[in-house]
Amino acid sequence: MTEQLTVRATPEATITGAIAEVIASLPVSLRAGDSAAGLVAVSGPGWASEAITVATGGARGILAIDPVFTDFPIHAEELLGAKIPIVVDTTWAYNPAVDAAASYFAALNPADTMLESRVETRAGSDLARVLLAQLALIRRATGSAVITLSIHRWKSNGYTAIGSAENGAEVALDAILTDVRPPSAALRALTRQAAVRLTVPDPTTATCGTVTISDQHGAVLLPTAYETAHRAAWRELHRRVNVGATTNDLSALLADLALVVNAS
């Protein structure tokens, strides 16, 4: 039987994480709690120190929503030592389409693969956060982190970059900041023989992400799921608490942060 866990959120996390909507859509697994809640959502400046406070205060799991990195490096070591699961809920990575695509990305020979990722997001967005969310998407979808990155354009309306993934695949990234289209992310792997194409929609809606696998014989659209990345991230946190597993989301965020700082 599913254990129901209580949830509380910092004021900023309440807004950015659409907490009430998520709890309403997972009423058996989650319910709103008070200061002693088992699961805590943190976000915004100071999220890392807040996370340390709740981790040492008896929380069973933490959801870090779209974390900025102002105080993260200072607290990284302490947070990485936490014995509870900490899920990092960035813009795209936990969309269920990403998990659905993962085995298909992994099946391609990385030496023959070009990974191309395109993000469109709101004008005025913080470019470093946009890039961190894009790196998290690539890591989760392909199972391989981007480890080298050369940024060729970095300006108010977007960026472009070329790099390589841990598995050897070459990576081309770009982002465009615009208000004319809903935010979205796309990641495709192209080889001579096959392609995997992932699209991730606006994270504030439950619009479906899509995964299309194509080769010489045709193209297949995988079954779609009407679930926001936020809801899927909470499910993941709940599952990990239940099975007693931690995550490597924080170490991944720290590595991506170092990459972004060194590249920009």
């Binding site: 191309e116 615009t178 004319v180 289209r181 193209a219």
Partner: protein, 354 residues
């Protein structure tokens, strides 16, 4: 018996003639008829000409001397284009359609312009998407998009041409491309130059339409992907431009042109080359409102031939030769700078691994 339709002479009878122009002309039988087909391979010339009941020759001069040929279409290898365009103009033909690029150097382009001006023979470059009804209709309706767009993305994912040619016709001869090692700086530079002048050039006139300051051009990066092709990141004036072409044996083609501003954007999905699959579909987004243009039943190939007919009958104004020269200058500038960039980066990589 004298035919009342416009007579066409074709120089070069390879896949472009077989899979593009002959099927298109078959849709326009009330306007054109093929008089003669020239190819250096006599068997190819005879076979292709036989499909449309035309005469054949292996001689450019014979074709140009034929008075029944009103319009010359040049589908020969790129290096012959300029000389053949000039010869066709001097032969007093009524119009010339030359596959892109119509020249390979700025000097050739200027010579062509001078001859076209001197002889009064109009020249059309076969950049089919500039004649695509989807492009043409959205262009008439996009308002201030050129000023507002800050980013241009032009992306092609291209399965092998036979995938499309074989639906357009039964091709009897095809060039075979050698396998190439992109780790060699000269090879990488050649791949990029070939990709720009052979593939990207299709829509570079569209890119230029969004880049009024097109001579102020900088290549930020250029890369040959593992699949073959090119990734070129450009700053053109104050516009950010990404030009991507990827070769694949996979099934799914993509040919997308996008112009994106903060509050207005355009996306055009083009149908594949070769096939008679109608026009592009253009989506113009302004705020939260979208307008869709196309698809129309005719594609850009049909558009360029209808334009030629208008030139011959005097119903259409001739193209501005300076625009064609500017298109070529723009393409050559990108090809030169992108191939230089990739040569340098590949060389640096090679030296780092030595």
């Amino acid at each position: 018996m004298t035919k009342t339709t416009i007579g066409v002479g074709i120089l070069g009878a390879g896949p472009v003639t077989q899979a593009i122009h002959l099927p298109t002309l078959a849709r326009l039988r009330d306007v054109f008829h093929v008089v003669t087909v020239m190819d250096v391979e006599a068997t190819v010339a005879e076979s292709v000409a036989g499909r449309v009941g035309a005469s054949w020759t292996t001689s450019v001069e014979d074709l140009l001397a034929n008075d029944e040929v009103d319009v010359v279409v040049i589908c020969s290898p790129h290096q012959f284009h300029a000389a053949q365009v000039i010869a066709a103009c001097r032969a007093g033909k009524r119009a010339v359609l030359c596959e892109k690029p119509f020249a390979m150097t700025q000097k050739e382009a200027e010579e062509i312009a001078a001859v076209s001006d001197e002889t009064g023979v109009p020249i059309v470059v076969g950049a089919m998407h500039t004649f695509d009804p989807g492009w043409a209709t959205v262009k008439d309706n996009w308002g201030d998009l050129v000023a507002l767009a800050h980013t241009i993305r032009y992306s092609i994912v291209l399965p092998p041409n036979p995938r499309f040619e074989d639906f357009a016709t039964e091709v009897i001869t095809r060039p075979i491309g050698p396998l190439q090692d992109r780790r060699d700086p000269d090879v990488a530079a050649g791949m990029v130059r070939g990709g720009i002048m052979g593939l990207a050039i299709h829509d570079l006139p569209l890119v230029r339409a969004f880049c009024p300051d097109f001579t102020n051009l900088e290549v930020l990066s250029c890369h040959v992907p593992a699949t073959g092709g090119y990734l070129v990141d450009l700053r053109i004036g104050d516009k950010d431009v990404l030009v991507t072409g990827v070769h694949t044996d996979s099934w799914e083609p993509e040919w997308v042109f996008e112009a994106i501003g903060d509050e207005k954007s355009l996306r055009i999905d083009f149908t594949p080359s070769y096939v008679q699959a109608g026009s592009a579909t253009a989506v113009l987004t302004d705020g939260h409102e979208q307008r869709v243009f196309g698809p129309h039943s005719g594609n850009g190939y049909e558009g360029e031939w209808r334009y030629l007919a208008g030139l011959v009958t005097g119903h259409t104004a001739p193209p501005d030769i300076q625009e064609l020269i500017d298109d070529l200058t723009f393409a050559l500038d990108i090809a030169d700078k992108a191939s230089h960039s990739v040569r340098q980066s590949t060389l640096a990589l090679k030296e780092a691994h030595a």
